[in-house]
């Protein structure tokens, strides 16, 4: 009997939660996520993070705080030990291995070290991302120039990554991330290797992408950028979310 009631209450609770969350149109939902490494080290501790469609969120915290692990969880590069991760209304903790590629097609990723293919030109690097998801050659020929002009590299399409500056390389990797028009863009310290001026230009580009409707989650160490942007800031320390402010700064203002 009690068991039966417990189940009804549980069902009711999850129903309410679903209604509330659906109404808010969250694109990314992490509920009670824990991640423990095999050696027993607890990297993420009870993480609850909800991100709405169209938001721009900074993820800040010192190295080793768990930012990268959080990003890896969303890409399903590693598995959460417990908890639930829902991306675009799909519970990825229960996702089968063969559906992971489809998850990743909805998430563009940009890295600190760009991860461009050195033996391919700018155009080929971007087209590569479309070929991988088996887009038709016609679509590739149409879409790649559009995205290259968006990041301002139309004229440099046949150069190789070594011939470009750091900022330009990061633009290429942004173009590659955006060419399949994902709903989410995850940027893992995209300005980590760039000087302040170039960083600012990349941020301008990110804001533009965000204004077109892409949700952006950016992990960063750049204090001045976070302070200038006045966007939502989620701070992680020792595997916990210690602060989540809608118009925050890098450090807690005292």
């Amino acid at each position: 009997m009690t068991h039966f009631f417990c189940r009804i209450i549980k069902d009711f609770r999850s129903l309410c939660r679903n209604i509330i969350l659906k109404g808010c149109d969250f694109l990314i939902r992490l509920n009670d996520v824990n991640k423990v490494f095999t050696d027993g080290h607890k990297v993420l501790n009870n993480i609850n993070l909800h991100i709405q469609k169209g938001e721009f969120v900074f993820l800040v915290g010192s190295s080793g705080a768990g930012k990268s692990t959080l990003i890896k969880l969303m890409l399903k590069e590693t598995e959460a030990t417990t908890g639930k991760i829902v991306i675009d209304n799909e519970d990825i903790t229960k996702m089968r291995r063969r559906y992971i590629p489809h998850l990743r097609r909805n998430i563009g990723v940009v890295f600190q070290d760009f991860k461009l293919l050195q033996e391919k030109t700018v155009y080929e690097n971007v087209a590569f991302a479309m070929e991988v998801i088996e887009a038709s050659p016609r679509e590739v020929r149409r879409q790649v120039p559009i995205i290259l002009s968006m990041v301002g590299l139309s004229k440099k399409y046949d150069l190789y990554p070594q011939q470009l500056s750091g900022g330009e390389q990061q633009r290429v990797s942004l173009a590659r991330a955006m060419v399949n028009s994902p709903k989410i863009l995850i940027a893992d310290e995209p300005t980590g290797n760039l000087d302040p001026d170039t960083s600012r230009e990349i941020m301008k580009l990110l804001v533009e992408i965000n204004q077109r409707g892409t949700t952006i989650l950016m992990a960063t160490h750049a204090k001045d950028i976070v302070d200038n942007m006045k966007k939502r800031v989620v701070a992680i320390e020792g595997g916990r979310i210690v602060r989540d402010e809608m118009r925050g700064a890098y450090c807690r203002e005292t």
Partner: protein, 276 residues
């Protein structure tokens, strides 16, 4: 990089190919010898033509019997004389009092049935006794069986070993492209999208390796056949497999094995790098 793969796949295919050729030859020789085994049923003297005919029909109707031919006393003597060619004077004077009996010569579909057939023939009336090389035949059957099984086992073991050698060689190629693979996986490539170029590469390497192997092995075999046919084959009671037959079979087996090894090798070597 692929030169290394082709070399190692050719080396392993050569070893496997030699055993395939040996196995094919064992099989060929064994079947040859087995088909030569015949049985003789000696008949009582002085049977009428119609009795012999009906007996012949009875024997033919037995399971596992291929052909039955009647050999009369006189035919048997002629044969005997032929065998003793130079010394046929020893048999002079036997023409009037021929001691050899009439007989039925029975050939079998498979020598495995020899025992049952001989038993059922000796039960028939007017049959004096039935002979076939029992001990020799039993030994022969055992040897050919062991050789066939042995060759198959050896080829299977070689197959497993060579698959891992090839997998390790191809792994070098995959390792050189691991960055590309991880980027592919990040932008949402499926496992098969990453895998198939490597598999095609593996299969092509396998085909090239088997072409080289077949060319090398068949030219060696041709030389072998030529030298052997002149000298030794005359005194041996069997022949080795003719060139035209063995080339077709070997090409088939070696190419299949080459493709299989190349395919499996690349699947194994890509596996590790797909876990991103």
């Amino acid at each position: 990089m692929s030169l290394a793969s082709v070399t190692s796949i050719t080396a392993t295919l050569l070893v496997i190919g030699i055993f395939v050729m040996l196995a094919l030859n064992f099989d060929y020789i064994a079947t040859n010898i087995e088909s030569q085994v015949e049985m003789k049923a000696f008949l009582v003297d002085g049977l009428g033509q119609d009795v012999i005919e009906s007996m012949k029909k009875n024997v033919e109707s037995l399971d596992g019997v291929k052909t039955v031919t009647f050999e009369s006393k006189t035919q048997a003597l002629e044969k005997f004389k032929e065998k003793f060619n130079n010394n046929s004077y020893l048999l002079e004077g036997l023409d009037d009092r021929n001691p050899l009996p009439d007989s039925l010569i029975v050939t079998m579909i498979s020598p495995n049935n020899a025992k049952e057939i001989s038993e059922s023939i000796s039960k028939m009336s007017d049959v004096e006794n039935v002979v076939y090389g029992k001990e020799v035949l039993d030994k022969l059957l055992k040897i050919t069986y062991a050789l066939r099984v042995g060759c198959l086992l050896l080829i299977a073991v070689l197959l497993i070993i060579s698959t891992f050698i090839i997998a390790n060689t191809i792994k070098l190629t995959v390792f050189a492209r691991r960055r590309e693979i991880s980027i592919m996986k990040f932008v949402g490539a499926t496992d098969w999208f990453v895998r198939w170029p490597f598999i095609i590469e593996g299969v092509v390497i396998g085909i090239i390796g088997s072409i080289i192997t077949v060319l090398a092995l068949s030219s060696v075999y041709m030389y072998f056949v030529k030298t052997l046919s002149g000298s030794m084959l005359g005194i041996m009671s069997f022949t080795i497999m003719p060139f035209s037959e063995i080339v077709i079979d070997t090409t088939f087996f070696v190419t299949c094995i080459g493709i299989f090894i190349g395919f499996l090798g690349s699947v194994i070597s890509v596996r590790k790098f797909l876990k991103v």
